[in-house]
């Protein structure tokens, strides 16, 4: 039985050697630019498409100073007609009269006589999809994208922010319970993917922006620090505008976590998802990407990174990795991931199919704790009673005894465990 429920694949969340197959798809139909079997580098473009612009609404009544019906008579374009930036859309033909001009090259889509609003759809722009990962093109989906495969080590995070990036892994701490302090981040961190230990603060993240860091991988983050950092990046006005979306009927929302548009993917009620419309809307505007990608492996608070994850990342210090911070909890599960491609030769002749499947729990399994005061700790299953056990909280549930790396034995419900191997 698969006892990890939080990742979009059945692979264990931390794996030394596995086979990663990544699907790269365009948001809408386009052209695939690589062939089956091609070797690709992270920056290679694998597909591209023309993305139509977001329609612009122009209120003719305010600009022309007439009512909606009168404005209709002043329109100088037909629906579907192309206009260049600065072209007149509506207005009297007499000299000196008010004119409405197109702000950009676009198609005049139409006019609504009830509201007095004209709609312009800007010309499309090119969208290029990169490979993100060094590997081999194993599948081509015509007009849509490709799938890229590589043997790799993988560490999945539990939440993150920021898009897909790649860079060289740089270890900045000596142990998994050491904070990634602001002083550790300097010019030497430029373009790197930093590995911290336990947690990171707002000041340190600001340093990351200043030093053009590409990614940060830490065990945890205090909610208050995240709040402070976001206020800093997004300006209070934008932050408050976003948080007041549901500002009714209970009054002020003083909650510290950014709701919808800032991070549409993190909150369960934001179902923007992968629809083309959502992608168009998110392309510009509130859901602007962070200048770097943040990946948190354990959760919120000041929790050390899981020993396993830390050891794996530390061993890969100096290697090129592909990271993504995308997190979505419902309606298309997505969790952040760190992919460390391995040379093909290193896995020659090995059968990696077992590593694609979820490990099951048994005596001697290695497991990670997912909640409570032992969050993130690793241990070996030293007892697996078949009957439900009474937990310290009084709840009766199936549980396992875990012997942690420091020798402590704890009884934990199976639902709070994640089997790694």
């Amino acid at each position: 039985v698969n006892v990890s429920f939080y990742y979009p694949t059945k692979q264990p969340s931390i794996a030394m050697t596995t086979l990663v197959r990544l699907e790269r798809r365009l948001p809408f139909a386009g052209e695939v630019t690589v062939r089956l079997g091609a070797r690709v580098e992270p920056d290679d473009v694998v597909a591209r498409t023309l993305v139509p612009g977001k329609p612009m609404q122009i209120d003719l009544t305010t600009i022309l100073g007439v009512n909606a019906r009168a404005a209709a008579r002043l329109i100088r374009r037909r629906p579907g007609e192309q206009v260049q930036a600065g072209d007149t859309i509506a207005g009297k033909r007499s000299i000196g009269s008010r004119q409405v001009r197109a702000p950009a090259a676009a198609v005049f889509s139409g006019y609504d006589e009830n509201s007095g609003v004209a709609t312009l759809t800007p010309m499309g722009e090119m969208y290029e999809l990169d490979a993100h990962l060094k590997g081999i093109v194993m599948e081509v989906f015509p007009n849509q994208g490709v799938s890229i495969e590589t043997p790799a080590a993988i560490v999945r995070g539990i939440w993150g922010m920021g898009g897909e990036r790649h860079g060289v892994l740089k270890l900045l701490v000596t142990s998994n319970d050491e904070e990634l302090t602001p002083e550790l981040i300097d010019a030497k961190s430029t373009f790197a993917v930093l590995v911290g230990g336990s947690f990171v603060t707002a000041v340190a993240l600001r340093n990351c922006i200043a030093n053009r860091v590409r990614g940060v991988i830490v065990g945890s983050m205090p909610a208050a620090e995240l709040h402070a950092f976001l206020l800093d990046v997004y300006t209070p006005a934008a932050y408050v505008a976003a948080s007041s979306l549901v500002d009714w009927p209970m009054g002020r929302l003083g909650w510290q976590f950014p709701p919808a548009p800032l991070f549409p993917n993190l909150l369960p009620n934001a179902t923007q998802g992968n629809t083309p419309t959502a992608m168009l809307l998110n392309r510009k505007g509130a859901a602007a990407d962070l200048p770097f990608t943040l990946i948190v492996t354990e959760g919120f608070g000041r929790v050390p990174m899981s020993e396993r994850a830390f050891e794996l990342l530390a061993a890969a210090d100096g290697q090129e990795v592909a990271i993504s911070g995308a997190t979505r909890l419902r309606g298309g599960l997505a969790r952040p991931e760190v992919i460390i491609p391995l040379p093909r030769s290193s896995v020659q002749g090995r059968d990696l199919s077992a590593s694609q499947q979820a490990p099951t729990i048994h005596l001697g399994s290695t497991a990670r704790v997912l909640s409570g005061s032992y969050l993130g700790r690793i241990g070996k299953v030293s007892a697996l009673p078949p009957r439900p056990q009474l937990l310290p909280s009084g709840i009766l549930a199936r549980a396992a005894e875990l012997t942690l790396t420091n020798g402590t034995r704890v009884l934990l419900p199976l639902l709070n465990l994640e089997v790694l191997e």
């Binding site: 509201s115 709701p259 419309t277 937990l391």
Partner: protein, 802 residues
């Protein structure tokens, strides 16, 4: 699957699934020993998300577990076996309720922020919705901005509407016959946004969809609204939510929202087409719970409130006669439904926290933690929603959130209630994963009391029950295919009785703390020593009254107090009727309404600690002693109409016509379900035998032991606890006959004489502790105490036919 085939057969065995956002629960109902009974249930995590992306995967897992527990094959080669085969494998019908889909994102549009907007919110909060925003005509004025040009207002609203990406819009405003023009502004904004949305979708070659729009405002605007919106949106016109300023009428809008949810959200659940190929009977869980609420009201004439605290939704259902009492011409009972989507204890935590604020949650904790820690706790739970509260601290935090979720629901109901701000009900049932899995029933009682603050209106007491088997949604759904089965299972197998709560209410603004709020005298029907207890204001006490016990109760409110709608300081007592016990006992909640917690932290900790100890540890003040004076000599006391054993209004059997042939019942019972169950069944539990002295011919079959080695890890404690038919109610037939037509002799089994101290222990059934020492299943004493007033009138008739 071949559902036509099923309809040709009598529906006897029913497989019911309740697919929640986190857990998929299945239950098997079947005819056992001539009665519809709950046979077994199982659960598995819901598989709506990747790597599965199909709810039927989790459903298969749950069914496989059910097959393992019952030894009955239900699925063959990926298909359900319908109808049931002579071999006993398969089921006659499959039904499902679901709340797995994310809530419907909805935008409200109203003229202004007051009355009609509030009605719109009430209508929206009756199915799984997430109200994204309220757009009003005058909002910039309300915010103190200068008036906007018409076009500016429109552009702003359109931009907002497009960015919010709602699944639906609800337009309300104006009383019938009021001005129409402002409503058209709202319609223009929606039309414009719908057009923009369509053009966006078109630009990426997607088939443009029409935004569903419900109009429930001034009816004289219907024509003009339709002219503006018909072309661009999927417009649904319905009655005004506020036809008059003093009248709210939500039914029309609710109906439209329900149908919208069924059409759009439910069907969008991953794997829905596959599920729909199995059964046509798929309804939202909230509707199933609404059915069972109405059922209890009509069948037993009870004013009932059902509260469901789930992972991503919280809901409350209330039906009462209060309106009918106030206005005799209002023939119908009032029915209130509050359903809050994306609001709950796992996926719903961010919204819950945002609505109530961290301080509100923190006040329920008897220890100090910072607001920041609480937020982090909530976020970590959100990231891994299936986690269990393993430590005491986690459980306390979880329960603090649950209290606030319940309070939110109660508050919403009070807004809608008639008369306003008072909720009248005498039966309170808690359900949902959190309540069903509380380690001790006392915790469930405390959660319900703290969260909903029942006032015991009108009679002065309220019975608390727990749906710890989580059967209510199943029963509600099965009522759609076989009402008789639903009725039987509800009567016999669904509820765990926590006890009766007496709630003295203060009639002065600030009663002195520690003055006696109420003095109760309890005369046990089994003849034990009467018990007298005085409860001071601000305290809560529990008096031992086991589930199988009945007692006469006398309540003397203090000088500044009353019970129910009674008079100040006036003594009330049960007249001929008796109060019923439960796993907690008789609870006297003299903490006052509304509940007040000390603002000083140390005092608050002490108060919370005291309350929790008082209800958790059965605390009987002093020794039981004889009554000082014969209170029953006061003849003209108003009855404390707590538990009137009511006969059902109509005969279930006659209505639904279940099989009446004794041989058929027997055959099915012995050949299929009973035999299959017997494969795992253990001998009758000793406790059951002890209590049910005169056994009937149909000897109780009891729960099989849960001693299998290969249990899946996601199988939770409660799933193990109750498998297979619990012992049928052990009432001898004579007793049943007696109870259905009068109000005496409710005692069913000879009492087990026990010293007072031991009674305290009895209130905690061993199977809730999980302290099983052998492989014998523990007896489920809860099943022993089927309340007489919940028994169908047909019971004794059917007993005769056997």
């Amino acid at each position: 699957l071949d559902t036509d085939g099923a309809s040709k057969h009598k529906v006897e065995s029913i497989l019911s699934a309740d697919i929640g956002s986190l857990w998929t629960r299945v239950a098997l109902l079947d005819v056992v020993s001539g009665e519809y009974r709950f046979v077994a249930r199982a659960a598995a995590p819901t598989s709506a998300e990747l790597p599965f992306g199909d709810i039927t995967v989790g459903l298969y897992n749950a069914i496989a577990e059910l097959e393992r527990l019952t030894g009955r094959q239900i699925v063959e080669e990926g298909h359900l076996i319908i109808p049931q085969l002579p071999s006993g494998n398969g089921v006659d019908a499959f039904i499902a309720a679901s709340s797995a889909a994310p809530a419907m994102r909805i935008v409200l549009l109203a003229l202004n922020r007051d009355i009609t907007a509030r009605s719109a919110l009430h209508a929206a909060e009756s199915i799984y919705t997430n109200v994204l925003d309220l757009l009003t005509v005058d909002e910039h004025l309300a915010a103190g901005e200068k008036p906007l040009l018409e076009g500016e207002w429109l552009a702003r609203q359109v931009q907002r509407l497009v960015a919010l990406q709602p699944d639906a819009a609800l337009i309300v405003g104006g009383v019938d016959g009021g001005p129409v023009a402002p409503l058209l502004k709202l319609a223009d904004a929606v039309a414009q946004a719908a057009k923009e949305r369509a053009s966006l979708e078109q630009s990426v070659n997607a088939t443009p969809s029409r935004l569903p729009v419900i109009f429930a405002g001034n009816q004289s605007a219907r024509g003009k609204i339709a002219a503006r919106l018909d072309e661009t949106t999927d417009l649904r016109l319905t009655e005004n939510v506020r036809p008059h300023l003093d009248r709210e009428r939500l039914a029309g809008a609710q109906e439209q929202l329900d149908s919208l949810y069924l059409q759009k959200q439910l069907t969008a659940t991953p794997g829905y087409p596959r599920l729909a190929s199995w059964t046509e009977n798929i309804i939202p869980t909230a509707l199933a719970e609404g059915i069972i609420t109405r059922y209890i009201a009509t069948q037993y004439h009870r004013d009932v409130l059902i509260a469901d605290v789930g992972a991503s939704s919280v809901s409350g259902f209330l039906t009462n006669d209060a309106a009918a009492n106030a206005n005799p011409r209002a023939a119908e009972r009032a029915f209130y439904r509050v359903v809050k989507g994306d609001f709950g204890l796992a996926y719903g935590l961010p919204n819950l926290l945002r609505e109530v604020g961290a301080a509100a949650v923190l006040r329920w904790l008897p220890f100090s933690i910072s607001e920041n820690e609480l937020v982090e706790w909530a976020l970590n739970r959100l990231l891994r929603p299936l986690s269990l509260a393993a430590e005491e601290r986690d459980l306390q935090i979880e329960h603090a959130f649950a209290r606030e979720a319940l309070r939110y629901i109660a508050q919403r109901m009070r807004e809608q209630a008639n008369p306003p701000a008072r909720l009248a009900y005498d039966l309170l049932i808690g359900t949902g994963g959190l309540l069903a899995n509380v380690p001790r029933p006392q915790m469930a009682a405390m959660l319900l009391l703290d969260g909903l603050e029942p006032e015991g209106l009108p009679a002065g007491s309220v019975e608390l029950a727990l749906d710890n088997t989580m059967l209510l949604p199943h029963i509600g759904t099965s009522a759609t295919v076989n009402p008789a089965a639903a009725a039987y299972v509800f009567d016999r197998d669904s509820l765990l009785w926590l006890g009766t709560a007496i709630v003295p209410l203060a009639v002065v603004a600030n009663p002195l703390p520690n003055q006696p709020a109420v003095t109760i005298t309890l005369e046990y029907a089994d003849g034990g020593n009467p018990l007298k207890a005085e409860v001071p204001y601000g305290e809560i006490r529990v008096v031992s009254l086991r589930p199988d016990q009945r007692a006469q109760l006398t309540v003397q409110p203090g000088r500044d107090f009353r019970v129910g709608n009674g008079e100040r300081g006036k003594l009330v007592r049960t007249m001929g009727e008796e109060v019923k016990g439960g796993y907690v006992g008789l609870i006297i909640d003299a903490r006052g309404r509304p509940l007040r917690l000390p603002s000083d932290e140390a005092a608050r900790f002490a108060t919370l600690q005291r309350w929790q100890e008082a209800i958790g540890v059965v605390a009987v003040e002093g020794q039981a002693r004889p009554l000082p004076s014969p209170v029953s000599s006061q003849p003209d006391l108003p009855p404390l109409a707590t538990r009137i054993p009511l006969s059902p209004t109509h005969d279930i059997e006659a209505e639904a016509a279940p099989p009446t042939s004794a041989s058929l019942w027997h055959e099915r019972g012995s050949e299929s379900s009973a035999r299959d169950v017997a494969a795992e069944a253990a001998p009758p539990a000793p406790a059951a035998a002890e209590l049910a002295a005169p056994t009937t011919e149909e000897a109780p079959t009891t729960a099989p032991a849960s001693n299998d080695e290969s249990l899946p890890p996601w199988l939770m404690a409660d799933e193990l606890a109750d498998v297979a038919p619990p012992a049928p109610a052990p009432q001898p037939e004579q007793a049943v006959a007696a109870t259905t037509n009068n109000q005496q002799a409710l005692l069913v089994a000879p009492p087990v004489p026990q010293p007072q101290q031991e009674q305290a222990n009895v209130t905690m059934p061993p199977w809730l502790h999980g302290e099983q020492t052998d492989d014998q299943p523990p007896a489920r004493p809860g099943e022993m105490s089927i309340p007489p007033w919940l028994r169908g009138a047909d019971e004794d008739e059917r007993s005769k036919t056997r």
